[in-house]
Amino acid sequence: MAAPLTLLLIVAVTIRAVLFRSSLADLISERVEVVSPLNAWKRVVEGLALLDLGVSPYAGDVFHETPLIIYFFHFVIDYAEIVFMMADALTAVALYIAVKDYNKIVFRKQKYALEANRYPLNCQQLFRTPKEMYYIPLKVAMFYLLNPFTILSCVAKSTCGLNNAVIALFILCTIKGSALMSAIFLALATYQSIYPLTLFAPALLYLLQRLYIPVNWRRPSFWLFTTQYAFMYLGSLCVMVCLSFFLLSSWDFLSSVYGFILSVPDLTPNIGLFWYFFAEMFEHFRLFFICVFQINVFFYTIPLSIKLKEHPFFLIFMQIAIISIFKSYPTVGDIALYMAFLPAWNHLYRFLRNIFLVSVVLLACSALFPVLWHLWIYAGSANSNFYYAITLLFNVAQILMVSDYFYAYLRREHHLTHGLYLKRKDGSEATLVLK
């Protein structure tokens, strides 16, 4: 499997290199769907230029990256394109290895469950076979590398690619079972943008499952491991924050980075829900709705963790999807990360209900975004409502897709417990509904 992966990496790097050298690179790096005020490359360059001028990069309202990014790019600014291509490649390889190991674990569990006769008799169609699972890791890597969203994000040199790489490494370390590395990468991801904080719960659940510690709050072993993991995570986060303070000798970055993410002062249009909502909001209610929208990202963690505590990998997917949809400055790079996981749920295909509608709407919206932007900003014949409408539709389609996969997953689990062909009391074929 190394050969096809290498071939895939070569093809992906070639496509990106070709696009970097073409005139499209400048055009793409200015698209608001691909870059946001948080991760635009222009702003990184501006921050470094301000540092050269002797002004703090956080003095103005242009630069919102963390000090570690300044430090990192201070050395590799001349090789920026290679850095972003390598980040993409690293993400793809990390996801490849992670999904491969996960598949092995899944297959082993299925084997034990079959030997223990835990599945009903008519479920053979739902079992996963090695033949079907063989190409899934390669498909995951392909879905990430050859996704147009990822390619656009890389060519625009948006630091979203670096964030994705960190999250992919976090997933890899979690699947491999290394709690310390998982905590460090999760702390790095949280340090970059606050939202990966919600991935703490699925990572914890996965590691508990892997160590055969039952998730029972009455048991001390559960609390012991939880405290250990939390301590490692919070410790790494504190170390990173203090390191950032010593780099620039000021705490300015806290308000410029985290204050910016949470309070949403910049209303540059993007593919998310926040910008137009807060552009049209009265001052009186602004704080209330900021709190509502930010809590909206975080408060699905606990209910989802309770429902999916036996399936933490799917929970990671759900959490990343919810972050990408509801975060304050989403870009297509965030979407590309959770879309990379879709081949891992190929076996759910028979239970997906809306996949045709969702894919058509996503394609249509992706095509309409630049058109309506041009009509609003350059031609002047449309106004902001057109672009806003497409934003809404895009987000509805994403929500529909994620909830569809959730439904399919839950339904498959139900069938694995109760049998595939269900009969009613009188023997006729039954239908399943959610009640």
């Binding site: 501006e46 001052e283 429902k307």
Partner: protein, 489 residues
Amino acid sequence: MPNLYDSYVQVNILVLYATHCFPTKCIFSVSHYRLFPTSLGQVISKFSVRELHISFTQGYRRTMQWGQTFLPSPPGAELWVWFQDTVTDVDVTWKELTNVLSGIFCASLNFIDSTNTVQPSASFKPLGVGNVTDQRFLRYAVLPREVVCTENLTPWKKAGYTSDLCQDWQCKSTAWELRQTLNVVFDLHSSGQSKREWSLFKMFSRTLTEACPLASSSKVDVTDNPQGELFELSPATPMLSQAVVLGNRRTYSQRVETCCALYFTESAMCQATGCRRGRSTPWCTTTTRTGPSPSSCWTPCPGTCVSTSHTLTVTSKGRDNKPSYIHYQPSKDRLRPHLLEMLVQLPPNSVIEVTVQFERALLKWTEYTPDPNHGFYVGSSVISALVPSVVAMDTNSTQERPLFSSFFPCKEESSYFMQVYTEPLLVNLPTPDFSMPYNVICLTCTVVAVGYGFLYNFLTSTFQVEEPSPGLAKRLANIICRLRGVPLL
């Protein structure tokens, strides 16, 4: 005021304070209010102002045709103040001062706040005797959108054209200086006269009958237009003299010289497509024949535009001209504007272009002006230069006329200080739809609710086998059975 078609109006008020006046002696005595407007005097003493410059300008000055103005000022209202070093909180004092001045001059100076106030470090020096250069006590603000109206001249009712106030009754040394200028350009052709003649009566509907009652002397200076035809002055004046001023031999008799030896002209341009990105390009054409002159160029940019300093380029004659000193203060959203000051050498006979790229921001609904599609004004750039002076004026005739000498260099110096302003720019920002706040809130909350609804449904419900619903007849029968208390069908 006569009809000012295609014209230019500029009002300047300048109050200077001499530093060799000890604080205890600088309390205004009542007698001085004969010359100095009471309102201004009270303001100056209350807010411990060392120097106060206000100007109101409307219209675009065609410098190439009309010549350089005596006191350059940007379009709109400009206010810059040097405070005394006894002031503890300059920002609070500045805010109070602008509010009071807004009342005195009947102008909207109360719109000056932290979003359009800057503290330039190199471009503005005190013009009085004082040599203070502590930039903490300097504040500068410009409102490009202000219009000029006759109510702005309210304090003039109390004061004359110029007045020096003395420390002691013998008037040995100057304590305060007040200069008020009104600069108006008339278009005589529009008044319907075919003959090229003009008179004070035609312009102002009255003649000069007597000297100013408050002043010790009044003079009217008239100059000629060396490129145009000569004209005769009626009534004729006995004093006729010639001198070389600013490089040109001019005949003047009590003339107010219009400087036509332009050292440099300024312009500004905003290049953009659409209302997303743009480049602000103030440029300056030098016509000096002598060597390069150092100049400080200051470019403001409002907080509504996100300006990037790494895109700053300065080119002259097609080549890069790196500034030797850059002072850049990036803007903070809704708190303070951009400030960019550079020290650039201006080579002679060249065009210098300064380019900065910016991005236009989408503002909150409440932050737009009532006419948002008009655009937002970007204030003028300032170029302060040390221009090499060619030849000075004959100093003999200017000793008695301090106003005249302050306008033109009459000392044998190697260079003199000159300040030029560009025109302001009008930037079109993208606007949201102002009729839609409720709709937007509803629709966005609907999308969030759709997400919440799906997840809530899957989290709280379980799969169950669906019982088919019986036909209508059976359902009605079941209702009756329930009422009767018998088992259902």
